[in-house]
Subunit: 167 residues, 2 copies
């Protein structure tokens, strides 16, 4: 496999994987492209490489910046904006974990809490609803605590966590 094949394979795999996890293809591909680019890329560069429109590129770059994993960079003497990705994959993972916790896990935990605190009318169905949502709440809460702890760790956390878990 030569460089171009490898690059295309990586970008399209990343796009497909993103899709499975609810991330749109263009966004995942832009991210993949920036991740392996030694130099910052301009909007034109990205449009050209991925064959996508200006609007699409602009919107998805913005989202990636909202996620805190892509950054704007300015070259001196140049008007054009350039973009880079967070290059440290551990930091990348931490940032994604942090954002998913904030955007999804925490709101869900709140709702599970509300639902599991309805008044118990003594019926079997109410008992089951309370029991199951309490169990989900506890699990989500533990996961969130774990994630946030991990997010606060230093860069080698995955390896370290692994070592701890297998002991």
């Amino acid at each position: 496999m030569n460089y171009d094949d490898a690059k295309n394979k990586f970008i399209s795999t990343w796009g497909a994987l993103g899709t499975l996890w609810g991330i749109n293809k263009a966004m995942a591909q832009i991210h993949a492209l920036l991740l392996i680019s030694p130099e910052p890329l301009s909007m034109e560069d990205i449009m050209e490489e991925l064959q996508i429109s200006r609007g699409n590129t602009s919107m998805n770059l913005r989202q990636l910046m909202d996620w805190g994993i892509v950054f704007k960079e300015n070259k001196m003497g140049e008007r054009k904006e350039y973009f880079t990705s967070e290059k440290d994959v551990q930091e990348l993972a931490r940032q994604i974990a942090k954002e998913r916790s904030r955007r999804e896990l925490q709101p869900t935990i709140k709702i599970l809490n509300d639902v599991s605190n309805i008044e118990d009318d003594g019926s079997a169905k109410t008992a089951e609803l309370i029991k199951q949502t309490k169990a989900l709440h506890e699990m989500a809460d533990n996961l969130d605590t774990m994630l946030n702890r991990v997010v606060g760790q230093d860069h080698n956390w995955i390896t370290k966590a692994l070592v701890k878990l297998i002991k």
Copy 2:
């Protein structure tokens, strides 16, 4: 909040959360419904509760069974099929982790391995591609090992893992 409100809130929240993670709404909602039903439900029951068609119900039940988190049940003397969900949320999490590893993580690891093993032609771009895909490969590999270890653990793993991590 009364029972019906709580139930609807739970089901629609689960559906919305699923959507964010690449799981279709009907599938997530069927799962939510079964999770809080004290008794197994028939296809008719599910169609009625969620207001979805027979075909949709049938296809999504099949997928949930493929994921190993919903089971067919037969009531004696009845022709109709009934369905239940895995009720133990820890077991549920383990099953989902196991399947996502098998379906997504492992194929991705293989591709990262292929891509990161291209010949180094000495150029900066090739060096960066190799470096980044190697880093992703290592992280994915560690995560997969962690997940699979966790999948092989007993039911309280999340709590236990948490305890280990905070020490």
